[in-house]
């Protein structure tokens, strides 16, 4: 890289990380101040771990994200398989545009629209509050589904169409052919889709805000409620922990990727050497 490029990249990284660095530093501040660092202390971390509401919100978030990711991955993969085989042009276009809606629409509209329907249906049944864990799960599955489909469809299109047919010619039932021949081929797409669904669900605030009931709080909603009033650096401690969890996960996945690339390279090299040895 040229020097100017290096300086520019460094500036942008400072812009991206300075706010996060400030949170990290002030989470260890002894005093409550946000501008003067008066001394190192783990006080806010202790307080965070005593905050049962926040801990409960973490648990809720994880339960919701796992459930939403699993259900949307199964349904989305099935949908992609079906859409890939769909011959009816109009039905395909209709499904495609329906799938695109949650991705194009602003979150606030998706959230409001689902909330209005839940409230209306709830009123039909005479319920006072119709928003709960169930409505939130439905909403999360809904906004995750398009991303799963979008990851799986291209893998299906790349796959050799003769593969499942060959399996069935050899006596597999269609279901067995799918699990034995098709699924392994599209697995990378399925897994990426599931990870995306999981992280989208973990991170979502806007749609959850409109579709959550009083009893069920996720972490983003908890953070929102915490920042509504004057904030204690407890929130910074929470942000710091989140940051390090993300950093670790990304590093692991990066190392894993690199290892895979390395292994593939070695394999190729071995093959080449074997070939050369033969000739």
């Amino acid at each position: 890289m040229k020097r100017a490029s290096k300086i520019y990249t460094a500036l942008m990284m400072i812009f991206l990380f300075a706010p996060i660095a400030i949170l990290l530093v002030f989470s260890f501040n002894e005093a409550k101040s946000l501008s003067v660092f008066s001394g190192f202390s783990l006080k806010w971390y202790r307080e965070l771990f005593r905050d049962t509401e926040t801990l409960k919100a973490v648990r809720n978030t994880l339960i919701l994200a796992v459930a939403a990711a699993l259900i949307s991955t199964v349904m989305g993969t099935a949908a992609a398989v079906g859409m890939n085989k769909l011959r009816n042009k109009y039905l395909r276009t209709a499904l495609d545009s329906l799938t695109n809606i949650p991705m194009i629409n602003p979150d606030i509209i998706t959230g409001i629209s689902l909330m209005l329907m839940f409230v209306f249906v709830g009123r039909l049944f005479g319920a006072a509050t119709s928003l709960n864990f169930g409505t939130m799960l439905i909403s999360h599955i809904t906004f995750c589904l398009p991303y799963v489909i979008l990851q799986v469809l291209p893998k299906l299109q790349q796959m050799d169409k003769a593969l499942p047919e060959a399996a069935m010619d050899l006596g597999c039932t269609p279901l067995r052919a799918f699990f034995k021949a098709e699924l392994p081929e599209i697995m990378p797409g399925v897994i990426t889709g599931m990870i995306m669904a999981f992280t989208l669900s973990l991170d979502d605030f806007v749609i959850s805000y409109f579709t959550s009931g009083n009893g069920f709080q996720t972490l983003p909603i908890r953070i929102y409620n915490m920042t509504k009033k004057t904030v204690t650096p407890k929130m910074y401690a929470l942000a710091t922990i989140i940051f390090f969890v993300i950093l670790t996960l990304l590093l692991i996945s990066n190392l894993y990727d690199e290892e895979m690339v390395q292994k593939r390279r070695e394999k190729k090299l071995n093959k080449k050497q074997a070939k050369e040895a033969k000739t």
């Binding site: 706010p19 859409m83 602003p106 606030i108 209005l116």
Partner: protein
Amino acid sequence: MNNKTRSVIQRMTLTPYSIWAVLFIAVPLLFVAYYAFTDSAFHFTFDNITRFFTATSQIDDGETVREVHTYLVIFWRSLKLAIISTFFCLLMGYPLAYIMARAESRTQNILLTLIMIPMWMNFLIRTYAWMTILQDTGILNGFLSVLHLPRIHIIGTESAVVIGMVYDYFPYMVLPIYSIMAKLDVKLLEAASDLGCPAVSVLRRVIWPLSLPGVLSGITMVLIPSISTFYISQKLGNGKFFLIGDAIEGQYVANNLHFAAAIAFILMVILLVCMALFTKLANRKIIVA
């Protein structure tokens, strides 16, 4: 595969999703329209829509009291701030995407990971971090007074909201542009400069047009969330001025669901029309290029 098994598989795989998509994607949008055009007793009315265009309120700026259209002012402000934020994201993000795409593959991966880390942190936390920095007694002013420079008042102004939006949505601009630029054929650039094209012209006449698809998807990915946000303006604007998202959220909190639906409906229609025009224009431009 015979036709019978094909249709069985199709029904098995597609039915659950089709039902789900109609029930939870299409029907809720109909409910937005239904609420927007009814009053609290669910009788048909245009009142909510006309209220958006005609409701007025008074602004007292210290000297004079002016009467303004409440929601039209809010809408134009949202649009203005979103466009300014998108512009700055593009201005700052385009060079970064270019530098990344030209770097060694290892550096590329590191930079990519670095850009994605803030994206994975919740935008509430990121916005809150900026509130800490920009406050009158915050870190920025502390820093300025250490340097014996005059303090600045920025929290609660439109600039603070723009800073928050640019920071929150910056990665959404860089990533699509980068992914297009990384695929760009280097031979094209070499050919252009070999044929005597000066560097600036290579950028303007070769790289820029080829990267347009990435730029366009970056613009939509920044513009849409920033026009509809409601947290950033509340925190960094100090609740002093509203954006369209705040208006919707405020009506929801006040339990005026019908008017909330009306604002959401109008926003949705305007965005749809803009997106349709934008893609049409973009497609023509890309074909010309």
